[in-house]
């Protein structure tokens, strides 16, 4: 039966203030049941306070064959990393 259903990507917000994070995917006939399935699959142990589901087919993805031109130019630009100053301990989630 699940083969007949579209795939949905699931995003969970662990607690207020944090961003939703991708956790996996579920099959479901529509968005409402995808939320139910996501709740029962990914938040059984109190992992979240909010859920998003997105049709997998609607996600635009980069082409792995283009990984070279897309990502390698950033590799040698170490001055873009914030490593030249200290981050205070009180600053979380960076």
């Amino acid at each position: 039966m699940s083969a007949d259903w579209p795939l949905w990507e699931v995003f969970v917000r662990a607690k207020a203030g944090l961003a939703h994070r991708h956790v996996g995917s579920v099959h479901a006939p529509d968005a409402q049941l995808a939320l139910r399935h996501a709740r029962d699959t990914y938040t059984r142990r109190g992992e979240g306070v909010s859920l998003w589901v997105v049709p997998s087919a609607e996600i635009g993805a980069s082409d792995p064959d283009e990984a070279g031109p897309l990502f390698e130019p950033a590799a040698d630009k170490i001055y873009r990393h914030p490593t030249f100053y200290d981050i205070p301990d009180e600053v979380k989630h960076i």
């Binding site: 039966m1 699940s2 259903w5 579920v26 099959h27 479901a28 006939p29 529509d30 409402q32 049941l33 139910r36 399935h37 029962d40 699959t41 059984r44």
Partner: protein, 276 residues
């Protein structure tokens, strides 16, 4: 005339009578029976839903149904432990679940019905969870402290069960020709067990008078109109009323419960000292 000294009323006192409730330890057979009715409903439906584990139409549905089962078994644990304490014969929830014979079970007929196909399972869930949700809403106002507390906690779980069952009813009823047909057949199978949910026998009447039990007759209209609304969304007709089947609350069960118990009780009865 000298005035009497003021009476100190401790904070949080509601005036709802500690004197009305039997003292702890005093046997209360009616309350014991009511706790069994509630606990057995949850236990038996939890066991039934657990039978879907590994067999549901999709992995996601497998998880959904077993999640409901876990909620229900959790409720049963609390309710049967409390029943054991109320009985005062040294039995705990496990003893009541696994070492009790079929005639002593007090669950309604609806929850012991076989799963059938997914349509019938959803029909049973819709009819039961809608009832249990309305019941627990009222039990949250019970004069019995334990029932108030467990109902307040379980009502959120059951609200989810009710929503899930309602949504699946609409998906199946308003789905394909085959899914609608299966949903109709499931409802037809389960419908004759609805009147039992609203039956008030002498025992329940006494508990309602004491403010312990909720009176199901007070929400039968709400129940029927809630179901009618879901079925209208699902483009299904409300099934015609059938000859009601009663008696499970007094131990007269269908032939299905014995088979369920044989499977559920086999291990603890064969190995009474088993631990896991």
């Amino acid at each position: 005339m000298a005035s009497l000294p003021p009476i100190d009323v401790p904070q949080g006192v509601t005036g709802a009578g500690a004197f009305d409730a039997p003292a702890a330890g005093e046997p209360d057979p009616a309350r014991f029976d009511y706790l069994l009715r509630l606990g057995d409903d949850s236990l038996i439906l939890g066991q039934r839903l657990g039978e879907w584990c590994g067999h549901a139409p999709a992995l996601e549905v497998d998880l959904s149904l077993t999640n409901l089962a876990l909620d229900l078994v959790g409720q049963a644990t609390h309710l049967l432990d409390a029943a054991g304490a109320c009985e005062g014969a040294g039995r705990d929830g496990d003893a009541l679940a696994f070492h009790r014979d079929v005639l002593d079970f007090r669950n309604c007929l609806l929850v012991e019905q076989p799963n059938g196909d997914f349509g019938r399972t959803i029909a049973r869930q819709l009819l039961f969870s809608t009832w249990q949700h309305l019941l627990f809403q009222r039990l949250a106002e019970s004069s019995d402290k334990f029932l108030r507390e467990i109902a307040a906690k379980a009502v959120k779980e059951v609200a989810y069960h009710r929503e899930l069952a309602s949504e699946w009813t609409v998906r199946l009823g308003d789905g394909t020709e085959e899914s609608a047909q299966r949903m109709r057949e499931g409802l037809d199978w389960c419908w004759r067990f609805v009147p039992e949910l609203f039956e008030v026998d002498e025992l329940l009447d006494g508990l309602i008078a004491r403010g312990i039990a909720a009176d199901p007759r007070s929400f039968e209209d709400e129940y029927r109109s809630a179901l009618a609304a879901v079925l209208a969304d699902a483009r299904l007709d409300v099934p015609p009323d059938q000859r009601p089947i009663l008696g499970a609350r007094r131990g007269h069960h269908s032939e299905h419960l014995g088979h369920l118990l044989a499977q559920m009780q086999f291990l603890p009865r064969t190995y009474p000292d088993a631990k896991w």
